[in-house]
């Protein structure tokens, strides 16, 4: 080998090893790691960190009640989520022009560049499958599918032009409740509990109730705590039988012994916490305490049988059976007891028209009948108890449904159904300082796209937080090196519907 070649090989070897030696690594990474270290050291400094940020986690009592940023109108929220996405075109968004187009081919202009979950090729338009009337003083359009709700139209503010960018249930539900279509962010109930704590020492601040036979498609992440300490996650109660299992102490174990054993466990936990400072240990301790207290409080709160006959009738409850009506009545009881956020999920609104239960003129109507009376009763009951002003009721799905009839795989379907639609759908809010009998946002003459007053999930979240007294930009939590918030970099408070 020539001398020159040797030299070249030597140089090449040095060049390669330079990239992998320890010293080289430190040399190259010095500034980067140094800057990262400096960043985390300075994070605690006021002049770099956000002075107004709202780190609310306290080690002593993570569920302690706390004051919001400003005086909020609402003290608690009942969020009624119709999982599967109900059709706005058969409930609130009346489109007589769509009826004229019924059965005609969908114009190409509506299909070009669009993606649908199931629609392929050229679908037919599907006119409204319900009779609409204007209701109350406000003249809100509500279909005959919700005859009870129609009587309380004047309590409600409709958002007619809600938009999302997710056309699958899971991601869309996550976006609605956690501000991100991907897993891992805290849900709105967790944020609220983190911000406000719980007024009732004996009940969790965030309770979840499900009905309709299934959990929402996004799974339990829609009420998860994400990176917030897990003490703020939603507590799901069972929808049938005992709402919470194992409330009774086992035979031979009296309450004092139970208390002593929890105290001993928590003492050990405290020692571990002192050593490792892991907030999850605090969460675990708080949950032991909470479970102990819930043994007393839950049987009382969760028992709807104690409610008088006329209340049961008003809601249309069926004690002992899993039902949406039972959950709604429970929600009222919980809010009355100081629970901050009650999240109801009712499954079964995915009206594709693949069979009778998802047909827009069969199963969908049954679903409507299931929720109509309870929701109406909830608004009336909160009102007569003087609670509607301080309880924000939110109703909605994760997206809307198409003005076209679904043609799964390009074939005609046996039943009338609609596909997932992201560009315009209706949600509503009532109580909690929201305007009575108003409507914001408009869709075009066939309800395909929003033409004014567009709002997003972020805007709804910002509005909910605003009603509770939070600046959605300041309710933050530091995780992985930055301050996170529910609305990420988005969100506008929908002033148009605030009283």
């Amino acid at each position: 080998m020539s001398k020159e070649n040797k030299k070249i090989i030597k140089e090449a070897t040095i060049a390669t090893t330079e990239q992998i030696t320890r010293k080289y690594f430190f040399k190259e990474c010095f500034s980067g790691i140094g800057a990262m270290a400096l960043g985390s050291m300075l994070q605690g400094c006021d002049w770099l960190g956000n002075k107004d940020s709202f780190n609310n986690f306290t080690n002593t009592n993570p569920l302690m009640a706390r004051a919001p940023h400003f005086i909020g109108k609402a003290k608690s929220v009942i969020y009624l989520h119709m999982a599967g996405a109900p059709s706005q075109l058969e409930l609130f968004d009346y489109k007589p022009d769509l009826l004229k187009l019924d059965g005609q081919d969908c114009p190409q202009s509506l299909l070009e560049g669009k993606k649908f979950a199931f629609i392929r090729g050229v679908p037919k338009m599907l006119g409204p499958q319900a009779v609409f009337k204007q209701r109350g003083q406000s003249g809100a359009w509500i279909s005959d599918n919700l005859p009870h709700l129609a009587t309380v139209a004047d309590e409600i503010s409709f958002l007619k032009a809600v938009q999302t960018d997710q056309f699958n249930h899971g991601p869309a539900q996550l976006l609605m409740h956690t501000g991100s279509p991907r897993l891992g962010r805290p849900s709105i109930g967790s944020w609220v509990t983190y911000g406000l704590g719980s007024e009732n020492n004996n009940l969790p601040g965030f309770v979840v109730l499900t009905s309709g036979g299934n959990n929402p498609d996004a799974g339990k992440s829609v009420w998860g705590n994400g990176f917030l300490p897990s003490v703020y996650q939603g507590v799901q109660c069972r929808n049938e039988g005992d709402p919470v299992l194992f409330l009774k102490d086992p035979a031979g174990m009296d309450r004092d012994v139970r208390k002593a054993s929890i105290d001993a466990i928590n003492e050990a936990n405290q020692l571990t916490y002192n050593e490792f400072q892991d907030p999850e240990i605090i969460a675990r301790m708080a949950q032991y305490e909470m479970a102990f207290k819930m043994q007393i409080s839950v049987p009382d709160v969760m028992n709807i049988n104690d409610e008088p006959e006329y209340i049961q009738e008003m809601y249309g409850t069926t004690p002992g059976k899993a039902s949406f009506a039972n959950n709604v009545l429970l929600a009222r009881k919980l809010v009355e007891k100081g629970v901050r956020f009650v999240q109801l999920f009712d499954w079964g609104w995915d009206s594709h028209g693949t069979d009778g239960s998802t047909a827009i003129d069969i199963g969908f109507i049954n679903k409507c009948r299931n929720i109509d009376k309870p929701i109406t009763a909830l608004l009336l009951d909160l009102k007569q108890r003087g609670l509607l002003d301080e309880t924000l009721v939110v109703w909605g799905g994760e997206f809307g449904r198409t003005p076209m009839q679904e043609n799964r795989d390009g074939k005609t379907m046996p039943f009338k159904g609609r596909d997932h639609h992201t560009e315009a759908f209706t949600t509503w809010m009532a109580g909690g300082g929201i305007k009575q009998g108003s409507s914001f946002g408009e869709t075009d003459e066939i309800g395909y796209s929003a033409i004014s007053g567009k709002v997003t999930a972020y805007d709804m979240q910002a509005t909910i937080l605003n009603q509770l007294g939070f600046d959605h930009e300041k309710l933050t939590y530091a995780s992985q090196g930055r301050q996170f918030r529910l609305t990420d970099v988005h969100g506008r408070v929908i002033n148009e519907i605030i009283a």
């Binding site: 004051a67 400003f70 005086i71 009732n200 020492n201 049954n366 009948r369 605030i498």
Partner: protein, 464 residues
């Protein structure tokens, strides 16, 4: 041709730095060369001036090219342009003097150049960065102090005291007496109403129809977004205020208190009076109050009462007795010690004692009292005659009689009165309404109709 001129013009911001640097360097060399130690520098003085003069001429040409197609404040441009040309001429003169070895003249040329470089540079900077660019750093501390800060923001005139300072900070640089880009001025009511070269910019009552607002909310990358890219942007709070100002009528003379204020507006407005935290909600009095005794609050918390500030910026308190079944003398006395601060009291289902009723009667800031399902008697209720601020009273499910309720006739501010599940029914509605003229009286007893379809479950029609 235009595009070539345009292209050359765009080199001006780059080229300007050459004559500044080279000429300053030439002057420095020239000055040092007079000292014995640096006497050799003499040899490069002529060359330095020559290069400096050359670059000054090139810069002048590019500057003239730039001035043909960019809108600048004409007066500043005039000074900048002619001072620049004069500078180039003087630098040529300097070259001439070096060639002829005229030391005295060269010295004066150097001094003149120094002054000209400073002046031309300053006017150039003013053209691109605005008149206050240089001194902004000095002023910034003062500016935050001078930012409107009211003892009571409700008394402020919305446009003059709140909106105009925003426009002044973010818009006047190009839309006022200094410059009128797009023929638009925003520095007075008349100018705002007049609009610019594209017509009206302002529609009272509709922010979304007002280009003044619409350009703010355009995508920041949009060419028409205002303020332009690179200039200080309108913050979210400022945007909300401008939106609110236009939507609530776009008045130039109305005071804040004359306009309806949604919750987030209250929050933003509250920032204007940071030094005097004040609650801006009908449910909370607006006058200031001292912090409640912390020891009493801690003790109440220990006794199971959830008592806390109504908001972070307020010293008023809300107390929730949901964890308390029955109060004792200790609690009742503690309530008295913090009574001036309490505005909301929530005591659903509480066992009432005379001493509790007495303690509540001290809470003269109280606006909301929820004692539904409690054991309060007519007699105990009579304690509340002096709670003049009370405007929400919830007596649902109590034993209060009509006679008991009418004892409170002095509480004329009550505007929400809940009487469901009591012996009081709506046959006395007229009398109660007369006693509490402002009140919305809710007797409850709501129910939902039974509709036949409620229980019908639709099924798929069987095929025949």
């Amino acid at each position: 041709m235009d595009s070539i001129i345009n292209f050359i013009g765009h080199f001006h911001p780059l080229l300007v730095h050459l004559p500044i640097g080279i000429l300053l360097f030439a002057i420095l060399i020239h000055w040092l060369a007079q000292k014995e130690k640096y006497v050799l520098f003499k040899n490069i003085v002529p060359f330095s001036y020559l290069i400096g003069a050359g670059s000054a001429i090139v810069t002048c040409i590019s500057g003239l090219a730039l001035s043909t197609n960019v809108e600048y404040d004409t007066q500043t441009l005039f000074y900048h342009q002619w001072l620049g040309i004069f500078l180039a001429l003087v630098s040529l003169l300097g070259v001439y003097f070096t060639k002829k070895n005229k030391a005295r003249e060269l010295k004066w040329a150097a001094i003149t150049l120094l002054v000209l470089i400073f002046l031309t540079g300053h006017f150039g900077g003013t053209l691109t960065h605005g008149a206050d660019y240089l001194t902004k750093g000095l002023k910034s501390k003062k500016a935050t102090k001078a930012r409107p800060n009211f003892s009571n923001v409700q008394e402020a005139i919305l446009f003059e005291d709140i909106i105009q300072p925003i426009l002044e900070e973010k818009c006047y640089g190009c839309h006022s007496d200094i410059k009128q880009k797009g023929k638009l001025r925003l520095d007075s009511k008349e100018w705002i109403l007049k609009g610019g070269e594209d017509g009206l910019v302002f529609h009272q009552g509709s922010a979304l129809n007002s280009p003044l607002y619409k350009k703010i909310i355009l995508d920041p990358l949009d060419e028409k977004h205002m303020p332009p890219k690179g200039k200080p942007q309108i913050t979210e709070k400022e945007r909300v205020l401008i939106e609110w100002w236009i939507n609530s009528g776009g008045y130039f003379d109305k005071k804040v208190k004359d306009l309806a204020q949604p919750g987030n507006i209250q929050m933003v407005l509250a920032n204007f009076e940071k030094n005097s935290p004040k609650a801006l909600n009908n449910d909370v009095p607006t006058n200031e109050i001292k912090l409640a005794n912390q020891a009493s609050l801690n003790n109440l918390t220990k006794m199971g009462v959830t008592i806390l500030q109504v908001a972070k910026n307020s010293n008023y308190l809300t107390a929730n007795f949901i964890n308390v079944v029955k109060t004792n003398d200790t609690i009742d006395n503690l309530i008295k010690t913090v009574s001036p601060n309490i505005v909301w009291l929530k005591m659903p289902g509480i066992m009432f004692s005379n001493s509790l009723a007495n303690a509540i009667s001290y809470c003269d800031s109280l606006t909301k009292l929820s004692i539904e399902h409690s054991t309060i008697t007519d007699n105990q209720l009579s304690n509340f005659q002096n709670l003049k601020r009370l405007h929400y009273l919830n007596l649902v499910g109590t034993k209060i009689s009509l006679k008991g309720l009418l004892q409170l006739k002095s509480l004329v501010n009550i505007n929400e009165l809940y009487l469901g599940q009591t012996s009081i029914t709506n046959k006395d509605a007229a009398l109660i309404q007369k006693t509490f003229p402002k009140a919305k009286i809710i007797f409850g007893n709501y129910h939902t109709e039974n509709i036949a379809s409620d229980t019908i479950v639709l099924k798929v029609a069987s095929k025949k």
